[in-house]
């Protein structure tokens, strides 16, 4: 949203719809056509659900909860769990990039730091690991990862645009080489093997089904956290800073503090994803934080779309499916061409990634009829933000 649009939005008194197509903020303005709970004393949560929920939500929720019972363990684990864990890391970038205007390439680094702490302080197949119990290691993993995120945020908060990308990329690459060349702590190229999630409540959390639900839980937690935060005063201020930092500064908001705080919050999300990824892989090596992965996270976020917290998850599913199955569609040496081609096609056809495709499809399919009697979607709200 440009400064002009921002001004218009502020003046007209409508709530900010920045980045969220058909955002929740816009909904109370819609006349509730048939709200059976409008005048009853039904509990608050029921009213809330009735007003917020649409067929889309029910369908997605049912799908993510039920599909592992029909799919093979492979699909549950490698496609489902991996996509959600990668999506979580990309979500932290979407939060920073889509709502804070800071494209940080170091989100995989933050995730990797959390993973490395798990491996170094916890148990692994390497003698370097200290073997502390998981409930001691986890707080350390989060604390160190968030501290690194704050450091990265603090160093990059005063930069804009391409310089943010450069400085975060530099820090990411620096960490990669540190991990690659340090043997006393990071065990160099070989990293740590056999890092397994703990067995808690008698459940082996590495088994496909429990692991999937573990990842799903944290993915949903991250998703709702971001959805919530962007509507809090902090989130609104962050979006204001994205659109016009100087104006927000003049209004009395500390730009740097907000940006660093956003990095810290994104750090928590990335660290969650990082811990899940190290459990998923069962190992961590410098390869897990290499430049290709730093960029893959950006690819996932851009592929899915940066305008809504569901974007990175969609992007991650597309990414993982392509990585896994592209080799079946096209012969050996050429399969990376297919991956690149699909990415290019999606980004060229729809600058908002898969989300953009979805809202366009919705606008076309849904034109002329309302999706649900509870509310109609204005095609306008789906218009792409100007670049």
């Amino acid at each position: 949203m440009s400064a002009a649009q921002w001004r218009k939005a502020m003046n007209s008194g409508t709530s900010i719809r920045a980045g969220v197509p058909a955002s929740a903020a816009a909904r109370p303005a819609q006349p509730a056509l048939v709200d059976p709970y409008a005048h009853s004393d039904a509990p608050q949560w029921l009213k809330f659900l009735w007003r917020r929920l649409s067929a889309r939500h029910v369908f997605v929720a049912a799908f993510v909860l039920l599909f592992p019972f029909f799919a093979t363990p492979f699909v549950t684990f490698q496609i489902g769990a991996q996509s959600l864990a990668l999506g979580l890391i990309a979500l932290s970038l979407t939060f920073l990039g889509g709502y804070g205007g800071m494209v940080s390439l170091a989100q995989m680094t933050v995730a990797g730091i959390a993973g490395y702490v798990m491996a170094i302080l916890g148990t692994s197949g390497t003698a370097l690991s200290l073997g502390w119990p998981w409930w001691v290691v986890l707080p350390f993993a989060f604390a160190i990862a968030v501290a690194s995120a704050v450091l990265i945020g603090w160093l990059s908060a005063r930069t804009e645009g391409i310089y943010t990308i450069m400085i975060t990329l530099a820090m990411g690459v620096a960490f990669y080489y540190l991990a690659l060349q340090n043997y006393d702590i990071f065990n160099g190229f070989q990293g740590f093997q056999r890092v397994a999630p703990p067995t808690v409540f008698g459940v082996n959390w590495r088994a496909p089904l429990p692991f999937y639900f573990l990842v799903l839980f944290w993915a949903l937690a991250g998703y709702f956290l971001v959805k919530h935060v962007i509507r809090t005063p902090f989130g609104i201020a962050l979006q204001g800073i994205r659109d016009n930092p100087r104006r927000m500064n003049a209004l009395g908001y500390s730009v740097v503090t907000h940006r660093v705080a956003a990095h810290a919050l994104a750090g928590v999300i990335a660290a969650t994803g990082g811990v899940l990824m190290v459990w998923y892989n069962g190992l961590i090596t410098p390869g897990s934080v290499s430049t290709s992965w730093l960029i893959n996270i950006l690819v996932i976020a851009v592929l899915g779309g940066m305008k809504h917290p569901i974007g990175p998850f969609l992007g991650a599913i597309a990414f993982v499916l392509l990585q896994t199955f592209a080799i079946d569609l096209i012969d050996r040496e050429r399969f990376n061409l297919l991956i690149g081609g699909v990415f290019l096609a999606i980004v060229l056809c729809s600058p908002d990634g898969l989300l953009g495709l979805w809202s366009r499809a919705k606008a076309r399919l849904g034109s002329g009829q309302a999706s649900s009697p509870m509310r109609s979607t204005h095609p306008d709200t789906n218009r792409r933000r100007q670049p």
Binding site: Q193, G287, G366
Partner: protein, 417 residues
Amino acid sequence: MRVTKRTVVRSLIGAAIAGAFAGGAWAQQGPVKIGLLATLEGPFAAGGADGMRGAELALKQRGGSAGGRKVEIIKASSDAKPDVAVNATRKLVEQDKVDIMVGPLSGSEGIAVKDYAKTQPNTTFINGSSGAQATTLVDPAPNFYRFNTEGAQWMMGLGKAAMDKGYKRVMVIAEDYSFPYSQVQGFMTEFCRLGGKVPTKAWVPLGGKDYSSVIAKIPKDVDALLVVLGGADAVNFLTQYESAGGDKPMLGGSITVSQDVLNYKGKRRDSLVGTLSAGPVADAYDGADWKTFVADYQKNYPVSAGGFPSPSLFAYVYYQNMKAALDGLEAVKGDLSDGQKKYRDALGKMTLKTPTGDVKLDSNRQAIGSTFVTEVVKDDKGNLFNKVVRKVDDVDQLLGMKKEDFKIGSRDVPDCP
């Protein structure tokens, strides 16, 4: 809720997706499925592609079937990172339901895949070309077989050849991970036993681009350099060493002077002539079986179609392991029932006839085989190739040591400054 066109369309799309996910579960009788994993990306991409050629050649020689059953190869790729290798293997085993798995290519991948193999007791895993010692020495998986000798075994004989050339002090320059550790151990075990000294070892990161600091550290009083770098790294090092005016003779690791490095088209390639190395293959070995194998490779993969002038180490080792997989199938007439019990027994007892001689397995399912000591020479067409100096037979994984004396190679083991 009113059922609308959109709801119907969404449900249809959803059902289609769910169907696609569930579809992979069909297992079928018929062809034996063999999963083939090699690196087609990253630093070993050229080697990985040649590895695949080698494995395919083993199947082509049998007309695409073994033990009376058709064999279908399903390929996957990694980029030499263990997590990627396990993801690719998991896809082959759990999604494509392969009966036998052949791969991966590099050392760390091998260890990770071996750990994964333990969770899949119904699939038989046969190595690709990974050469880490720990894969079969530490905590071996009962269903992981390796019909190729590994990194340390490949270097047996080089220590003696170096002493014969009069190299008494040698500096080691090697990549910093398990496979070069093994290679250096194989060399040093023999070299130090014969009285040689290794004053310095420089461990460089895999995929490093700049070797100037290492080159600056080379002491004046060493007689030769042992360079254990793979693929693009080796080419980078050689170029930089030449331009820095280096003139020490070189000893090469098994993958340093493999065919993909000899094919390097740069100006400095002549500096490779005279390099001693050791490995499980030698271009110029004159065994009849070897010549047949090379001729077969050249016929099936001519240079014009992307093949190498003669098969690389990766092609040969993949060929060897794939041949073992197929010979095993032949021995049990394609019977993979009962958790592949018969098949595994057959593999364990097999004496594999390879183009370089017989290979047997030890109790950890690791090969005992031959090693060649070679020297790089130039033929009249200007192609570089490895001339055989010596063939060492029956090299075992403990390098002739007793089990209790043997320690797996690392940055500091063995040591003789």
